[in-house]
């Protein structure tokens, strides 16, 4: 290859060494010289749809030797998130006519974090925060068992689009009832129930082994313990709290510097 500037074969070519530096066939990425966008914006993800998994059980056993009933009553309210596919595109910039490329870098910082652990794990920011990352396409920011969040930035027609997306997977199995805790059959009886409390079934993501989310009582009684069988049940005495303290919403502050361009 001969070095220099050539007009031949219906095209213009600039060569150097083994390189074709530029041709009118297109070998360069044409980027607008100064940053087209230098901005900061929030990328917010809402909490997933909330649900409950309320467990209750009652066990009663008649002890012939002691001639009395022993009983246990337990309740636990765990909090779930129900299936969701959520996405939200929004326009964050205007694309110059003819541009089909966006070279950029981003810097992210989580400014609003989930309040609680998720399946006993903290929901960490997966990429590194507060550094400049070359950006082309998408970025996964959070993921734990059953959930994930990502955002993308791309050109769509004349718009520069921010696309937020999150997913929440299928519910846990295990809802339903078993055994028989009817007060009319109290001699030797055991029953339990996992209830979504009328809402959609979800995946259990947070629980606590202390009151008000978990309650336990036990005792003995010389007669049928009719007044204790529904202790800690949602419909009985001293139920567990069904107020969900968790909030898994997240917000990121994103700095974006980018140049629009086009393949030459």
């Amino acid at each position: 290859m001969t070095d220099g500037f050539f007009v031949e074969g219906g095209k213009i070519t600039i060569n150097k060494g083994a390189r074709t530096v530029a041709t009118s066939d297109g070998t360069l990425v044409n980027l607008l010289g100064s940053p087209s966008i230098n901005t900061t914006f929030d990328v917010a993800f809402p909490d997933f749809p909330k649900g409950k998994a309320y467990w209750w059980q009652f066990v009663s056993d008649y002890n012939d030797f002691a001639s009395q009933y022993g009983w246990i009553s337990e309740g636990r309210c765990q909090f779930t998130r129900t299936p969701q596919e959520w996405s939200q595109p929004s326009i964050i910039g205007v694309v110059p006519a003819g541009a089909d490329l966006f070279k950029s870098r981003i810097r992210i910082s989580r400014t609003g974090a989930p309040t609680h652990t998720w399946v006993s794990q903290s929901i960490d920011v997966l990429p590194k925060e507060n550094v400049w990352m070359p950006f082309n396409g998408s970025c996964l920011v959070e993921a734990e068992l059953g959930m994930a969040r990502a955002f993308s930035i791309y050109i769509s027609g004349s718009d520069l689009v921010l696309h937020r997306q999150q997913t929440m997977g299928p519910p846990s199995g295990g809802f339903g009832s078993a055994g028989n805790a009817s007060p009319g059959l109290m001699v030797d009886t055991a029953g339990q129930e996992w209830s979504a409390r009328g809402g959609a079934e979800g995946m259990s993501v947070w629980s606590d082994n202390n009151s008000p989310y978990y309650k336990y009582s036990s005792g003995t009684s010389p007669s049928l313990p009719l007044g204790t069988y529904d202790n800690h049940k949602w419909s009985g005495s001293d139920p567990c709290s069904e107020t969900d303290p968790t909030n898994y919403a997240s917000t990121y502050s994103v700095d974006l510097i980018g140049q629009f361009g086009r393949r030459s």
Partner: protein, 276 residues
């Protein structure tokens, strides 16, 4: 439309472009047919070269930087729930130096694993059981670094050595001197646009052939059913979240339906580029 190479001494610009229209004086830099010369930003589709534009000049290049990635221990059982397999996220955080540059400012950089230029959190190693290693590139005023996190599955993710191709780009130079177009017969270098373009410099190339690297320009991640699909610029995809079901501890009956990606997302388009 004619291809035109034109300079404008009044503005110090030079450009190679297609005439967008056929009206106007061909010799007038400000005529309609020569609009790309003095208005490149609104005529990008017709521009092959323009001295105002940034051509991503390479300042530092490493064709194969080897990074040693440590073993990632298999996932522990989740808390507060039972699952058909162990799986977790966010472990094995590591931070590696890829390259030291002397630019003194935060440059742009492209780093490739194989034929794919890395976007933040792109998988660079997967085991098919939930274990995967994800790379994020970041730049400082002195270094290009690789930050990794991992998802963990039923077995340890093996330690591995991976090669990365690194390109660091300079900011475009300021205009200097008074020469709009010059060919040096000794060096055989072509300079244009008051020194802003010089054929002796290495610019990112968009070319067929060679060893091109895919630079995506669209969405590369899709989420579905608690799972994730990663697209790669070469068109392939990866779904690292395994089909796992969960069950309430002490729950009645069996496990729930399995999570995991069930969509049909295809990787976004990409252009092929390479370091010259």
């Amino acid at each position: 439309m004619a291809k035109v190479f034109m300079t404008d001494p009044a503005t110090g610009r030079c450009a190679l472009f297609d005439e967008p229209v056929t009206t106007g004086d061909p010799t007038d830099p400000n005529s309609a047919r020569n609009a790309p010369l003095n208005n490149p930003a609104t005529n990008l589709a017709d521009v092959y070269f323009h001295s105002d534009l940034d051509y991503m000049e390479i300042s530092n290049y490493d064709a194969a930087k080897t990074i040693s990635h440590a073993l990632v221990t298999a996932a522990a059982a989740p808390g507060g729930i039972t699952s058909t397999a162990n799986f977790g996220w966010g472990t094995a955080i590591a931070d590696h130096l890829l390259l030291t540059h002397g630019l003194g400012y935060i440059p742009h950089a492209l780093v490739a694993r194989g034929a794919n230029l890395i976007y933040p959190g792109m998988p660079v190693q997967t085991d098919g059981l939930g274990g995967a290693r994800y790379a994020t590139i970041y730049c400082t005023t002195t270094e290009i670094r690789l930050y990794e996190f991992a998802s963990t599955g039923a077995v340890d993710l093996a330690a591995t050595n991976l090669n990365y191709e690194i390109m660091v780009f300079k900011q475009p130079p300021a205009a200097s001197g008074s020469i709009l177009l010059d060919y040096d017969p000794t060096s055989k270098d072509v300079t244009m646009g008051l020194g802003k373009f010089d054929s002796s410099r290495r610019y990112l190339q968009v070319v067929p052939g060679g060893s091109p690297l895919g630079l995506s320009y669209g969405r590369q991640i899709d989420l579905d059913n608690g799972g994730i699909r990663f697209g790669y610029p070469d068109g392939s995809t990866s779904d690292p979240v395994p089909a796992i079901s969960t069950k309430l501890i002490g729950g009645i009956g069996g496990f729930g339906t399995a999570m995991g990606y069930g969509g049909s997302f295809a990787a976004a388009s990409a252009i092929q580029v390479q370091a010259p």
